[in-house]
Symmetry: C2
Subunit: 261 residues, 2 copies
Amino acid sequence: MASLGATASIYSEDHRITYYECDRTGRATLATLIDIAILASEDQSDALGLTTEFVQSHGVGWVVTQYAIDITRMPRQDETVTIAVRGSAYNPYFAFREFWISDAAGKQLAYITSIWVTMSQSTRKIVKILPALVAPYHSEQTKRIPRLPRPISFEPTTTTISKPYQVRFFDIDPNRHVNNAHYFDWLLDTLPADFLLQHDLLHVDVRYENEVQYGHTVEAKANILATDQPDQVKTSHLIQVGDEKCCEVTILWRTLAEPIQ
Amino acid sequence: MASLGATASIYSEDHRITYYECDRTGRATLATLIDIAILASEDQSDALGLTTEFVQSHGVGWVVTQYAIDITRMPRQDETVTIAVRGSAYNPYFAFREFWISDAAGKQLAYITSIWVTMSQSTRKIVKILPALVAPYHSEQTKRIPRLPRPISFEPTTTTISKPYQVRFFDIDPNRHVNNAHYFDWLLDTLPADFLLQHDLLHVDVRYENEVQYGHTVEAKANILATDQPDQVKTSHLIQVGDEKCCEVTILWRTLAEPIQ
């Protein structure tokens, strides 16, 4: 898999992290990390003529189903980062896209892999990927694309934390869907502030199952779990609407010696 | 008042409006408009050595108490706008800051006036503005600074719309306060989607009274009011925590012939 996607075009752009993309610790939020990654991929697509309109003219839309996110260091307020993106490979049903986010010295801050499908606009069902929608990326056609880690299947316990969130008008982005980076604000807001101030994100596995809609009230649930490492902890998350599972997430955290003030 | 602040330094910078700063109509949100205005003013302050740390080393912090926002046209996704900012004038207790947001052709999109005070970090009371905190802006020292329009005093009626919002961890920005641009997401989300899709913002008057805190549940209330103009409507808004008034807002809207699809 080392060389998978080696022929695919890499697109890169810079982005300055603004104060309003950061949390109170001055670190970019996880939602921001995904927002700027998707922005770069949309810019690559536009530059190659693969605009949203072009994709929709084929009766389909791209939908992300999984992310696996490795975080070395979260970018901070006022840092300018470089986002590189590549539509690395695809098979008949799944496309594999990678993102590298690095600091001004070229040091890697985050590496994101993701799996995408095309969904029919009329039937809302997954359909075969049309070669015309991937050829301009010089994506590698392959039988097998990497399987991303599946998040832990969420198991409610007596200590599960749960909070309701109304999906707001401003959660819908110009693509007419709830910006699924907003899920991270819900997921992480369920954790106590003390926890968020004393942990750094290390790895995030995300799997989207069903789309949430404007007007829905989602329930975000979280479990805090121990790991084998004394300075690491895991959290398992679920977003659901009624009984329907919308998104499952597992996060690995590094425990800091002291909370960030 | 035409020449008030004519000697003050103007700082300007460009900003590209990203998809995640826009609503489903592709227009920048009101929260984005304020976010990018404040970003420009922080950049001006930093460039003049008036960093947050410098201000805090005097035992105070700047707090905005009022905005009056004129909107000619909301910027759209992928537009690059120019934000110009000027710390125009101050008297012993109030500072007057202006912002101009314009498109690539130099056409004005929005004009924002605002009133700021300095608050003691220990007593949380308003204190006299220290000349050292405004001199580098070449702000004009004056007896009278303009009075901004006061929003309509909110009157609950039987048709008042009301919605609760939990203040989230990610509403707090690196300044350790709830980003008060987020109030606009709460205020406007209370209005029906049909209304938001069939109206353009024309003018917004905002008055902040008390700060909301992480963990609070705020209640956002709205009344939709007629005006003398057949194609215009007003909305009156209140954000409160318990019985405490946090923010009052009046918005003038232009009714569109048809809703945006």
